[in-house]
């Protein structure tokens, strides 16, 4: 299944759209900065206004870059999950990795969040947002290992799906218990984290996120062929030479890296993982993952950049959490897509 000219045209079109969305995201914000000023910040920084520079380079640019990384990572993760489990409703959180990250964060903010513990941890030198990120990574990583271990023993993917959902439920129950016994400050902190935010990732954090997401995307690309074979089901895939265990391990690793890291740095962001693969399939009318993976990256990025632009509520001083916007925009999109499908069978 090669990239037809049709696909190539669409891919370039999407690239242009991506550039536009990126620029749009950079120009939107509380402080009005003209496009000319933005270009000046990048191309002749000496002549640019320092406050404008700080805002563009220090606030909006990292946020846009985070949106690019999260958009790519979550949509490719969703694509992999939908193919592996042959379930059109799957998204990267289905393995429970996102719930594991939330568990780590809740452990720090709610349960072990007593001031004495935090004070003690500060003495160790880990503080601030790094603590939250580290806790989320530990949570996500543990869940990933658990899922991998179980995947070796389970015969088929439906069982894996159920296990993933069960892990998600257990972690959420634990988090609820902690929330019940916490004081309002802690609960509000956790709630705010749970709303998701693209704005808090800067400097060293952005670099680490970029590295992990790129690794995840590379592994995903390598699994493109495996995913194609899995489209016919596990028996056929096996008869074509695919080792089910190996395929599952690679796909789970890739998705966990992507979903886990993005959740650790940005909080849980929903809907992109479910909606974007469907949009990609609809636009490119193909099932070949060689095309779908880059397509998902582009579409996911564009969508998340647009959501971020809307989240700024141009003109006002408040910013809505990104999770709300992705659902508000994503859900109607999927419904519109479904209405345009001619049959129920093809997805």
């Amino acid at each position: 299944m090669t990239a037809t000219p049709f696909s190539k045209v669409r891919l370039t079109g999407l690239l242009l759209l991506l550039l536009l969305a990126f620029l749009l995201d950079l120009s939107t914000g509380t402080v009005h900065i003209s496009l000319k000023e933005i270009l000046r910040v990048f191309f002749s920084p000496a002549t640019a206004d320092p406050i404008g520079q700080f805002i563009i380079k220090g606030i909006r640019l990292p946020k846009a870059c985070t949106a690019v990384l999260a958009g790519c990572g979550l949509s490719v993760g969703g694509l992999q999950m939908q193919t592996l489990f042959r379930n059109p409703l799957a998204d990267p959180s289905i393995l429970g990795v996102t719930a594991g990250a939330s568990l780590g964060v809740a452990a720090v903010m709610l349960a072990g969040g007593s001031m004495a513990t935090l004070y003690a941890i500060k003495e160790l030198g880990v503080s601030g947002s790094w603590l939250i990120i580290a806790a989320a990574c530990v949570g996500a990583g543990s869940t990933m290992l658990l899922v991998l271990l179980l995947s070796r023993r389970l015969r088929d993917n439906v069982m894996m799906l159920i296990v993933g959902i069960m892990i998600g439920s257990i972690t959420l129950a634990l988090i609820s218990i902690w929330q019940y016994f916490s004081n309002p400050e802690q609960v509000k902190d956790y709630l705010l984290w749970n709303f998701g935010s693209l704005g808090g990732v800067t400097g060293g954090q952005l670099l680490i996120l970029a590295v992990v997401v790129v690794i995840g995307l590379i592994v995903a690309s390598l699994s493109a062929k495996m995913l194609d074979a899995l489209l016919l089901g596990e028996n056929y895939a096996r008869s074509m030479g695919l080792s089910a265990r190996k395929a599952r391990a690679v796909i789970i690793c890739s998705t966990s890296l992507l979903a886990g890291s993005i959740t650790a740095f940005c909080g849980p962001i929903g809907f992109i993982g479910i909606a974007v693969p469907h949009i990609a399939r609809f636009l490119f009318n193909t099932a070949s993952h060689r095309i779908l993976i880059p397509a998902c990256c582009l579409i996911g990025t564009i969508l998340l950049l647009l959501c971020d632009t809307f989240a700024q509520l141009p003109g006002t001083q408040t910013v809505l959490p990104i999770n709300i916007i992705t659902s508000l925009i994503g859900a109607p999109l999927v419904v519109i897509l479904l209405l345009r499908q001619t049959t129920v069978h093809s997805w």
Binding site: A229, S239, S243
Partner: protein, 333 residues
């Protein structure tokens, strides 16, 4: 394309079955030595529950044997990747809900040969084209598979297996869900492919009739797990078919090569006549429960008048004439 008279697959002391936890559930035990030769079409027959699917899946590499050794082109160990270049399968699994076009699906057959990311070169495309031509689905190339009929999609799955370009091809009940003309066409196609491509083709089926006509060899699995193999005619003549399918209500008739449904034959009748009309009259009477007895008081004579069959019934010096078997049977039942 493989050279003649080569044993491509050889299985000895095979035990097929399942592992459920620590338990071993054996499906077939006393299997003789099985061989697949190049250019041969082998049909695997047997009643339901005899373990046809299990045997096929075991030979095809989808599940491990509980015992015994399988040699494929000299190898007795393989990875899924190397096996994929030797054996391709057509299964009963439903393949749908994935937005694939016919071309893409057939192209998937090249999986064991294509590059890292699934890229196809000229050899790959040549195989795909040949496979689509051999199965006659060239005109369906850009159709989505969920829009095809059962017969068409079965051909597509076959094309995919052909594109995989393996010396051995195995099919699990390929004629299920097909109407009669499609079944015949598929069996004919497989027969021709075996000859032309020198592949070894193994298929399991319930189509006794068609199998008897096209198979070079038949493997007959019986309910106890025993397998008799040989040319179909040998198996008919030595009574294997009869014993394999023997049952209370059903029997295999050596003479016609058909299954006969028993009906109690308790009414004596004498039948005379000639040719095709006599043959079919006898069948009808048998169905109605009549047994041919030379001395019966009821006599049916079948003959032709002016090119049309006519039946004369004689009973106790009365003679009546009928122009159809249906009216005849209504009269005598």
């Amino acid at each position: 394309m493989v050279s003649a008279a080569t044993s491509l697959l050889n299985a000895r002391d095979l035990q097929t079955g399942y592992r459920s936890g620590a338990k071993r559930i054996i499906v077939a035990n006393a299997l003789p030595e099985l061989q697949l030769q190049a250019g041969q079409l082998i049909c695997l027959l047997g009643p339901n529950g005899s373990g046809k699917s299990t045997l096929l899946r075991t030979l095809g590499g989808l599940q491990p044997p509980l015992g015994g050794v399988i040699h494929i082109e000299g190898m007795d160990r393989w990875t899924p990747a190397t096996l994929a270049r030797k054996i391709s399968l057509v299964l009963t699994d439903r393949v749908s809900g994935n937005n694939l076009t016919v071309d893409s699906l057939v192209a998937l057959g090249r999986y064991p040969w294509s590059g890292w990311l699934g890229g196809l070169n000229a050899t790959d495309r040549a195989s795909i084209e040949w496979a689509m031509k051999a199965t006659g689905i060239g005109s369906l190339r850009d159709r989505k598979i969920h829009t095809l009929s059962d017969g068409q999609s079965q051909k597509v799955m076959l094309a995919r297996a052909l594109a995989q370009d393996t010396p051995i091809l195995m099919l699990d009940e390929p004629t299920a869900h097909l109407d009669l003309p499609s079944r015949i066409l598929l069996m004919r196609l497989l027969h021709r492919l075996a000859r032309e491509t020198r592949k070894a083709i193994l298929l399991s089926t319930h189509e006794l009739d068609l199998a008897l006509q096209v198979a070079d060899e038949v493997w007959l699995l019986q309910s106890g797990g025993q397998l008799r193999s040989g040319a179909p005619e040998d198996l008919v003549l030595n009574g294997s078919f009869e014993s394999a399918f023997a049952g209370e209500e059903v029997a295999f008739d050596k003479g016609s090569g058909n299954f006969l449904i028993y009906t109690p034959q308790d009414k004596p009748i004498r039948v005379t006549g000639e040719g095709l009309t006599l043959f079919w009259t006898r069948r009808a009477l048998r169905r109605a429960g009549f047994e041919p007895v030379a001395t019966a008081s009821l006599h049916i004579h079948a003959e032709e008048r002016d090119g049309r069959p006519v039946w004369l019934m004689e009973q106790q010096r009365e003679t009546r004439e009928f122009d159809s078997i249906q009216k005849l049977l209504q009269a005598i039942s």
